[in-house]
Subunit: 604 residues, 2 copies
């Protein structure tokens, strides 16, 4: 059975020592009362829920999967899922960051992200039911009418009802402009929604009394393409009353047509949802549905990055435990830490390549934790800071870094989990180890909420080139400030020199691609994926250097805490072993579009 | 349903135009009668068998998996597997390269490798039943007594009986020195074998009348460690008579204790095999079992590389077909090949990053085809060349390049298949597409027959540093000769310049690691995996340059065959987009052991 314990010490390090998350939160009236004790306590309780309740359901959930009953169109989640969801609901966890007006606890989003990481590490498939609910909450919170908010937000914040995003249709995923689902206006102000959606995560299940679908559809006579898409709220059961007294009424005319047989996340129901003149209500303005949905999608993209992060951490913990126990072969070098001649063999952690695999996952995990927590602080700052300029800066960082978090963290996760599986040798390929499930689960994160290539195009096109690199320069300013602070530090040299070097290279690379793309947009597409890897490393190098700085401040003490020693060793590993990937991707990005485009399509 | 058609044109290109495989074979008396027509005909028939018989069973085989009956200890393979195996047996396919003396067709191994690629592309799990049989044939062919050969080889060559390798035990995989299975000599010259083996591929099934286990065990009083391991042949049913008239007699006292639930290759039974004083016979010399098993293992390692190659090709074919059909989004650039304004969207092959993913898989596949066929020619040369010096050269190339083929081709396969899955977006994550099965199947190839890290250690330690780089210099000579031949060719400059540059870098890197490893063996372990990636690219750069040379010889013709145009475009892609990975791995390899070893084991 796989193990997992939330890395609370590391969360505390990131939040309190590296990012100053509490002071940052307290700078906003919404979070004036937050203190470090509250933060630590919430994380500890959250960690307990993940280890005690979610983790034990994960392997069995994968085995059982969801079961679809074609007669009733109902989906049964695996054993224990419902009880765990009840416990989650009773604990008030769904409303961690929701408005107090709607029954939430109104805590900073950075806590949510830390908790999300733990939940996904313990049970990604289970967590998705709640994650989409939060997305629906956020979307309706921004775009819903006062009436819609009153009806749905308390139910979503309490997890009495859950939510979905209904975007994809069989013939359209990335290109939503092609979608065909129709919405016919009714005299009572409602709409009749007709169409078929696929790949609807948590689209049907037995965990909650109602499911609130947020559905993209076209109004009669709407423009073609993405400019003719509107957003509708289409609940499984029509609500009666509102607020705390809202309850479910008549069954709406929509149903689950089947669930997918997937590589992983077996315990999350991926549904075909059929709308047959189902009753729905417009959310936001007509034909502006995609904008409204993007509120949900941007939150979801960061959340997906964090799903990858959770799996990376879980894989690391299992593989490092295994590497310290599994006896196989002898250390090639002289006696060293971990070698034990009284045993028939050494634990495999004496072997350099086992450590390389483990440190890879660890560096991806710890770097990702700092990055995602910082990005969550930007979410708080963007929503709640009293100063408009601060809100704008945060919004810029979010716009720029959301695709990086989604793609870089999930690519790293697939790599990190795969390396940890490899540490187990053949045992990692066997279901019971839990490793192969993690790898299968990790694979979806590179696809949904926009494939990682779509993230890369979003980054280079919309987020970098479109404003002439202005947002990227804002991030560059953070890097420059840090470099200036550490310019004279000899012990920081091994970190700041490669960070500064990469910063320069990013600037040149961005200019070069920008110039080429001006005459041929395919040049941006041809460079995009490699460019995102380079930017991801710039971000990781920055946060790893910051973490090294904090660790160095402590290692000079007499009674050095091993935590800081490990942090420093992992920072060195990152800079020496992972950052050099940029040498590859800069060359690939600069190689241009011709080597991709010259071959005629029919010769593929 | 996934598609697959054997790439016969490309096989012919590699065998006839790039490698001169027929002339090479005819230089050996054993293959004096082989001609191009025979080769092409065998491949065509083989291709038909793969597409018509094996491919339709693959997806269903994965769904059904093998079923174990705890009462009878029997394993049932998926529907259709037995009929396909009968058809395979009737076609004489198992004995393609086996001696005529034992009923084989005595064709060159290079044909076997080409056929193996096709079989694995169509159905890896099915192919393994036959692949292990071939390994058992080869092992007994080299190390068996005349009596053992007479008894087993005809049955194995005809696939009436199948074979296994029984190495792993629960507590020992890589480190076989720890194994505990015992062999007690009997007065009649046989042995009683007692112990439990795990991860025995094709260990029990319903495809053949008998299963011939080759089992590693310890004789009484044998030295500890790997120097006390002997090899035994332990059939499921004791044979009566021999040669063509051999038939199965009494049931031996061994049984299947269960099968594993695995990430992939569901249709191949991965068995626990329990030996309870089972009757067996010594193969080869006492305590030299590991040597004898290595005959089987080296063949298996190349075959595993080719399993990866097959999956890469299959994934490429499916993804490129999908990319030409799936309409989604518009080309960002001006009208180009493949764009069609009469459709609501362009096929996704207009997008540069889709092409990058496809070309990655294609370059891994086509480069791997040339490499593996060349290596198979070395197998033939090593076994059959009349000149001892030629045999030795071939043996050196095999020793050096077998770990590279195993690890580089399977790492590339996992990458290539994953990229092709990504081309399908969410549809690639769904079982019916076949892509997620390919990725799950591909994952085992990085593990079994020695993990890829073990291959990397074998390469850098035993194959390169141990003889002071002599074998590597022999390969370097091939590269040098090719460079010299093309030194004055302007059109070859884009290929030979980076090849020469990489050759120089490999030389320096090898010396540097060798010097470091002399004082600390962990330095070799710390560099191994990255070093293997670099050597893999040296090999691929060499074969891609050779292929580009042939393609250029044809593109200057007036009526250019599109095949050569595509080859040249893929060669350029390889050199510009994949080869630069060496920039990363050279830096990682040079970063040394300290960044891996400094952290105390307990801090992981």
């Amino acid at each position: 059975m796989p193990i997992y314990k939330a890395p609370l010490r590391d969360h505390q390090f990131v939040l309190h020592e590296v990012l100053g998350a509490v002071e940052h939160a307290r700078g906003m009236p919404a979070f004036a009362d937050v203190d470090a004790d509250t933060v630590n306590q919430v994380l500890e309780e959250g960690a307990r829920f993940c280890s005690d309740v979610l983790l034990p359901l994960n392997l069995r959930g994968d085995e059982q999967g969801c079961r679809f009953d074609p007669a009733s169109h109902e989906v049964k989640t695996p054993e224990g899922f419902r009880a765990a969801f009840d416990q989650f609901r009773d604990g008030g966890w769904q409303g961690l960051t929701a408005d107090a007006d709607y029954g939430g606890q109104a805590l900073p989003h950075v806590l949510q992200i830390a908790f999300d990481e733990m939940r996904c590490a313990a049970n990604q498939a289970w967590t998705m039911y709640s994650g989409l609910t939060q997305g629906a909450y956020e979307c309706l919170h921004v775009h819903g009418t006062p009436q819609q908010k009153q009806t749905y937000l308390p139910k979503l914040a309490s997890a009495e009802w859950t939510g979905t995003m209904c975007l994809t249709e069989a013939h359209c995923g990335t290109d939503l402009g092609l979608l065909r689902t129709r919405a016919e206006p009714q005299t009572d102000g409602s709409y009749r929604i007709t169409g078929q959606k696929i790949f609807i995560s948590a689209g049907e299940h037995d965990l909650a009394d109602n499911i609130v679908h947020l559905v993209l559809a076209r109004l009669p006579g709407a423009p073609t393409g993405v400019k003719g898409i509107s957003l509708f709220v289409v609940p499984k059961f029509l609500p009666q009353g509102d607020g705390d007294s809202a309850r479910v009424g008549a069954r709406n005319s929509l149903y689950c047509g089947g669930i997918e047989h997937k590589m992983g996340i077996h315990a999350n129901s991926t549904c075909q949802i059929v709308f047959e003149a189902a009753t729905g209500w417009l959310v936001g303005e007509p034909n502006k549905g995609l904008n409204a949905m993007f509120v949900m999608m941007n939150g979801a993209r960061l959340a997906v990055g964090v799903q990858g992060l959770g799996l990376t951490e879980a894989a690391y913990q299992n593989a490092s435990a295994y590497a310290k126990e599994r006896l196989q072969g002898r250390s090639l070098a002289a006696a060293k830490s971990g070698s034990d001649s009284s045993q028939p063999a050494d634990p495999i952690i004496v072997h350099p390549d086992i450590r390389r695999a483990l440190l890879t996952a660890r560096a991806w995990s710890e770097g990702g934790r700092a990055f995602s927590c910082w990005l969550a602080m930007m979410v708080d700052q963007h929503r709640h800071h009293p100063d408009a300029a601060e809100r704008e800066t945060a919004g810029d960082m979010l716009a720029l870094m959301t695709p990086v978090a989604k793609a870089f963290l999930t690519d790293n996760a697939f790599d990190g989990v795969s390396q940890c599986l490899q540490v187990f040798g053949g045992h990692g390929y066997i279901h019971e180890s839990g490793m192969e499930q993690m790898l299968r689960d990790a694979r979806i994160n590179m696809i949904y909420e926009g494939t990682n290539a779509v993230q890369a195009l979003d980054l280079i096109g919309r987020k970098v080139l479109m404003d002439g690199g202005a947002k990227l320069r804002k991030f560059g300013k953070l890097v420059q400030e840090f470099l200036a602070e550490n310019a004279t530090s000899v012990e920081m040299n091994e970190f700041v020199t490669p960070l500064a070097d990469l910063g320069d290279k990013v600037q040149k690379l961005t200019m070069e691609i920008g110039m080429r793309a001006a005459s041929n947009p395919d040049e941006a597409g041809a460079a995009a994926v490699s460019y995102l890897r380079v930017i991801g490393h710039l971000v990781f190098a920055y946060f790893w250097a910051k973490m090294a700085r904090v660790a160095l401040d402590h290692t000079s003490d007499a009674g050095t805490d091993p935590f800081y020693r490990a942090k420093l060793a992992t920072a060195r590993f990152y800079f020496q072993r992972l950052l050099p990937e940029t040498a590859y991707h800069i060359r690939a990005a600069r190689s241009g579009a011709k080597n991709l485009m010259e071959l005629e399509a029919e010769l593929f």
